[in-house]
């Protein structure tokens, strides 16, 4: 982080500035995200990474740092780090080195953390975030592999702390950004995007509640265009909402100190979400001195370009590419495409909607023609309902196949949009095959012009006063359409009704 902090950065647009008592301030944010590598076993041992086990049950003699134990690296963790690096469009370092970062804490039995210091496995890259429809790039400084520590529990006893080493030795990717973010919103968008990318890649579950994605947030403030100010590091913020809150209160705290003539001490702070404040964590005399040196138990990590290329070939389509493809293939708006690709499961569901009937078969959907309609049904009707009922795509009562069937019935004119909502309700609560339901319950749109004409004539005959009004005010037509649709139980085709009405009313 220190090298990056010296980088000169362009002054920011005024909309991101924070108003202080003595003028505007610019907030500069960089982040170190710790992402737990998705793997079965730990970085240097064969014990399990599964969450929520009995205390110390997922601990080997290596994790407990018993004398004479030697670390042997889990190759899958290396691959996961490379995949993540590729997803961040980053330089992959074919030679990297593991170092010991020395410090004492009861949940670190080795007395050092195996990490990477001067030669990380992944170098510079970038992440594109979207802020109110505007793309912005956030630079990645590096990504390295390291061990997680164990867990200390302090609230069980007034005299003792309890230590569980289950997490000790689990592989983490520390992803360090450049100080490129200028607001809490940008920082949140960055972490959200990182999480999305890693979940697409399958390299990190990104479950913040289980602590497998945590962020250290570096915040400083300066006058627009000035040199970077002194930064404070807020440790271990574990939700995207808290990241936003922590940045807001920390920036405010620093601005107040400087405006009152004080200076900022470079220090590590802790965000207290209950009190909504940051607090100093360590006193200065405890200043870090990690005495890094290459771990003599581990040879340098080396692999060939072919090894990297092979991993690259098997990467899934990433969110940015998928979004571009959705806009092109399905004719979606940037916003809709963005909503759909935010989670891989959502994007897959949307695409599966089109698979329910092969092209050429009755009711088959065409991507370009029906993309927007399908997206509408997936996002507004289905996701809206899922959200409301606390469900997600995986537990959705309506399958992609059913929703595809429903959309197909709309596009081929079998049912109206209004009836489709009733059909959706039936699919949600009772399930079943959309076409069969429509058939069995007489929900088909009336295309029999004779029947529609009869309804139109009746409405006209019953409302001579409205007919006069409509002749003077053609937008009265809507009222007639409504009446006819109501009389048909929503089954008349609105376009056909409109057509007929216009003719009969002479407008």
């Amino acid at each position: 982080m220190s090298a990056a902090a010296k980088t000169q950065v362009k002054p920011e647009k005024s909309k991101n500035l924070v108003r202080g008592a003595t003028g505007d301030w610019e907030v500069v944010i960089g982040m170190e995200v710790h992402a737990q590598v998705a793997s079965n076993s730990k970085l240097f041992s064969g014990s399990s990474t599964a969450f929520g086990a009995e205390p110390n049950s997922h601990v080997s003699l290596v994790d407990a740092a018993m004398p004479g134990m030697l670390p042997v690296i889990n190759e899958e963790c290396v691959k996961q780090a490379i995949r993540t690096g590729l997803g961040l469009k980053a330089k992959i370092n074919r030679r990297s080195v593991f170092d010991r970062k020395n410090y004492f804490y009861p949940d670190l039995p080795q007395g050092y953390q195996i990490s990477q210091y001067k030669q990380p496995v992944v170098g510079e890259g970038e992440v594109e975030i979207d802020i109110d429809g505007e793309a912005k790039r956030v630079g990645i400084e590096r990504l390295h592999l390291e061990q997680d520590a164990g867990k200390s529990i302090h609230d069980q006893s007034p005299e003792y702390s309890y230590v569980d080493l289950n997490r000790s030795g689990v592989a983490l990717m520390e992803i360090v950004s450049k100080p490129d973010m200028r607001s809490a919103k940008e920082a949140q968008a960055y972490v959200t995007k990182l999480r999305t990318i890693m979940r697409y890649l399958g390299t990190c579950d990104g479950d913040m509640e289980k602590g497998n994605l945590r962020a250290d947030v570096n915040v400083s403030v300066r006058r627009p265009g000035d040199e970077l100010g002194t930064r404070c590091e807020i440790k271990n913020v574990n939700s995207i909402r808290f990241i936003g809150q922590a940045i807001e209160v920390e920036a405010r705290r620093q601005i107040e100190i400087i405006e009152e003539g004080g200076t900022i001490d470079q220090e590590t702070r802790l965000f207290d979400s209950v009190k909504g404040e940051t607090r100093s964590m360590r006193s200065k005399e405890e200043a870090h001195d990690y005495r890094y040196f290459p771990d003599p138990d581990l040879l340098p990590l080396e692999f060939s370009q072919a090894y990297v290329d092979d991993l690259k070939q098997h990467l899934p389509e990433l969110p940015d590419e998928k979004r571009a493809r959705f806009m092109k293939e399905y004719g979606l708006s940037a916003y809709d495409a963005g909503v759909l690709v935010a989670e891989r499961e959502s994007a897959d569901f949307f695409e599966a909607v089109f698979d329910f009937a092969p092209p050429g078969k009755p009711g088959a959907l065409a991507k370009g023609r029906d993309g927007k309609l399908a997206a509408n049904w997936v996002i507004n009707e289905l996701f809206g309902r899922l959200n409301k009922e606390g469900k997600d795509v995986a537990t959705s009562p309506v399958s992609a196949k059913q929703l595809g069937g429903l959309v197909g019935l709309i596009t081929d004119g079998t049912i109206s949009g209004k009836i489709a909502k009733d059909l959706f309700e039936i699919l949600w609560t009772e399930g079943g095959d959309p076409a069969a339901i429509v058939e069995a319950r007489g929900m088909k749109q009336v295309t029999d012009m004779g029947a529609i004409e009869k309804a139109v004539d009746e409405i006209i005959a019953a409302n001579p006063d409205k007919v006069e009004q409509a002749k003077a005010k053609p937008n009265m037509l809507g009222w007639f359409t409504g009446q006819v649709l109501k009389a048909s139980g929503g089954k008349a085709n609105p376009a056909a009704v409109n057509e007929l009405l216009k003719r009969k009313l002479g407008i």
Partner: protein, 95 residues
């Protein structure tokens, strides 16, 4: 390179080793002796020599991503001065 007594005390503190002032004096001499000796090595020009990481040609050994270890909590805490419900119990540490 030479170290002074303050540095010796700092190194000891970082290593969590308690030393007396008397010991610090002795350790300073010892450490400086070692540093003098290492200093001699700097006289050799190693500008074009790769740092040696292995004696025989071999690559970093790797493991497959399978669970082969663990499930022995009682053994893990067996040597702990204090344990409870398979947790290590240590004097309170609060930041």
């Amino acid at each position: 390179m030479q170290v002074d007594e303050a540095t010796v005390r700092r190194i000891a503190r970082l290593a969590r080793i308690k030393i007396t002032d008397e010991e610090a004096k002795g350790l300073r001499q010892e450490l400086n002796g070692i540093l003098d000796w290492v200093e001699q090595l700097s006289e050799v020009d190693t500008g074009n020599v790769e740092p040696m990481t292995r004696v025989v040609a071999q690559d970093l050994k790797k493991r497959e991503d399978v669970v082969t270890d663990g499930e022995m909590a009682a053994d893990i805490v067996a040597n702990a001065p204090l344990a409870e419900d398979n947790f290590f119990v240590v004097p309170k540490v609060v930041e």
